[in-house]
Symmetry: C2
Subunit: 474 residues, 2 copies
Amino acid sequence: MAENLIVPVILAGGKGTRLWPMSRSQRPKQFLALTGDLSLFQMTLKRLADPERYDKPIVVTNAEYRFLVAEQAQEAGVELAAVLLEPTARNTAPAIAAATLVASRDGARLVHILASDHNIAMDDAYLAAIDTAARAARDGRLATFGITPTAPATGFGYIEAGESEASGAHHVARFVEKPNEERAKEMIAQGNYYWNSGMFLFDSAVFLSECRTLAPDVLSAAEASVKAAREDLDFIRLGESEFAQSPDISVDYAIFEKTALASVVPSPIRWSDLGAWDAVWKESGADADGNVVKGPVSLFNSKNSFVLSESTHVAVNGIEDAVVIASEDAVYVGKLSDAQDVGRVVKALAKDKATAKLTEEHRTSYRPWGGYSSILIGERFQVKRLFVKPGKQLSLQKHHHRSEHWIVVRGTAEVQIGETVQILRENHSVYIPQGDVHRLSNPGKILLELIEVQTGSYLGEDDIIRLEDTFGRS
Amino acid sequence: MAENLIVPVILAGGKGTRLWPMSRSQRPKQFLALTGDLSLFQMTLKRLADPERYDKPIVVTNAEYRFLVAEQAQEAGVELAAVLLEPTARNTAPAIAAATLVASRDGARLVHILASDHNIAMDDAYLAAIDTAARAARDGRLATFGITPTAPATGFGYIEAGESEASGAHHVARFVEKPNEERAKEMIAQGNYYWNSGMFLFDSAVFLSECRTLAPDVLSAAEASVKAAREDLDFIRLGESEFAQSPDISVDYAIFEKTALASVVPSPIRWSDLGAWDAVWKESGADADGNVVKGPVSLFNSKNSFVLSESTHVAVNGIEDAVVIASEDAVYVGKLSDAQDVGRVVKALAKDKATAKLTEEHRTSYRPWGGYSSILIGERFQVKRLFVKPGKQLSLQKHHHRSEHWIVVRGTAEVQIGETVQILRENHSVYIPQGDVHRLSNPGKILLELIEVQTGSYLGEDDIIRLEDTFGRS
């Protein structure tokens, strides 16, 4: 890594629940296209595409999201320096320490920590803030980005800016926890308070040295886990037992609120953490009646509302301040002004066996080879739509409890059953008896789509015995 | 028909839109199970099950609903005297005149006209009202049922009761159009005003004689259409051009508001026309918070709301006075107090080509042999679930533009392709090439379910060439 370039470290392991039912624990917010065609993670990658300024990014995530990270980066045409897999959730401090160690080992000086799920306008103000933070970091400061507040928000922590520095940053006077509205208004009136964005930029050596002093437990766990890390395809799995030794603590508490080296870069940038549906509504640009509508939606006599549908038609009549989100398999209806409440609703749904799955999975599941949607579940049968990317291959597998019928509806399939390999074209079908070893590949240049009809007494995803797999899952 | 029995005439041709998205023009309200396991039409049939009191019912409907009427009656175990098919919609007057002519021709004296989609408690008060009406009818009166008002409703017309009769009924003083709330309150305070229920009971000869005097155009069209009627399986198709000669007029305007023979039977019965979602909510018995919930629904911090879902999970949080209805393919969200507005919404959706189908069809279509659901529509393919009742057979048919794969997932199928007939059991599949004549039957004792995967350049329902059909559709 080049010394003069900034190494971005993207935190992409979050499971944010407040954008349910679109966000699910198996495919959370950062991997969804909420504001355009690209996912928030991909938009984050795009902001880091300037090779004069940034080195290849490091992504920190967990094992569950590794294929999503790899595929979405590939789709966006961005090469990653490394994908670090946190073996267990320990908040941001050990994740950032481990990533900084890896970056530093590879020669990086300047490290920029950023979230994978924020919406930021890439304008001159943004670039100026990055430059200021880089100068502060070169001056030995741990820079935080303080967003110039546009409203007395109560959902963010604030940073009070103190003495100014040559870089253009300010010493941090203090960090303020999420305030009530009155207190937020006072801070805004004072003019030297900023929203804590959770983005940082620092010299790796300075950060690690502060870690050693202020959070030695965090650093030693991070060091041991990097040392014990094992490479798994394109992923770096941090040592599990070592990483687990770290306290569960945020980098704010562990380092930034304690260090004397914290600086804040006043950042008058267009930024949103898209923390809940009201934030997405704000970022989406409402019409004259204050409405935002996405997907197959009909709106009548309604105001200040956000209605989004993935597939089902939604007709909304005579409502105000409402949020209606219809995913393929769940609908949320509430007040836009209660958008923060969604997390509580999801917790309740997750506790109930009947609804827990709706907080975890989407109807469509993505896999490194493509994915599938469950389109009909019957008593002893299930119908799925499978899609396989060109050149990809599923694992060599068998099922104890089900037979499968495959009907190709688009593209070309190569199907191995036992020792026999055959090519199926559109409108061809094949039968895979229970217990037979089989493998599906897409040898073609376009997406392969097929309809799978499973019949049997048990149809769970865990009845897959993988004998061989190109994605290291066997 | 026995002279002393009442012949019920059930009007089942309505296309009520205000219960959208559950009610669709192809399967409207009266054929839906809204308050229990039986449809409103079936519940109406059950109320008429007493052979000491009622003769077999005559149902008036249109051609589109003929199989629904026949099947639902069969399911309910009720034998119908006749199913009259209105060739075109001309409001209630000619339909009632034609049905009365048919009943009278078959020897009926007392005819009871009733709606197929009302919710009525079968208690002593109800039976007493029927008895009073029958006495009035025998005295040569045209009896209407006036429901004792329980609230100053503005959605119904009112009947003012005048001089009392020996039968227990009263002369009708006058009919009042739907009032405003103030006027409704005044009428209720006066005590001799009743809701106009749209139910009638009369002697067929008296009614037809009044028709001849007061609405001769209606009667002559009805007579001609009955004369020109042709029997089609179990249905009586009224003569089309003859029926079309009738003015488009309600029986209220044509007869009851003009005749000197109208009586009103004060009926303190539990009755609802289930005219809109607020009425269904009222009839469904709200919990302590005023909520009614049906299907897979989670409700949080909500009040006075009605949430119904057919399949998708619906989570509702922090709302009041809301109605959320999620059918298989559409969601309606509005205020419960605006429930009357749904009709306007449906009109708007029906006008828009993108949404018109959602006002006409359900995702699941019922046919005399069973039915199907479209479960996935792709670019050049479609996946359907077919279900065939025991002993039933689809038409002998072929398609110009599509091939079909059938996979049996439940029961046993007999499949004819060309001249070959084969039996398929669970987990068997068969391929029907484009253009091949084929026929599907269920020779078994349980429901046959199969998954159909269609591929081709055109997949519309109208690409069915029927060569032979047991249901008279070829």
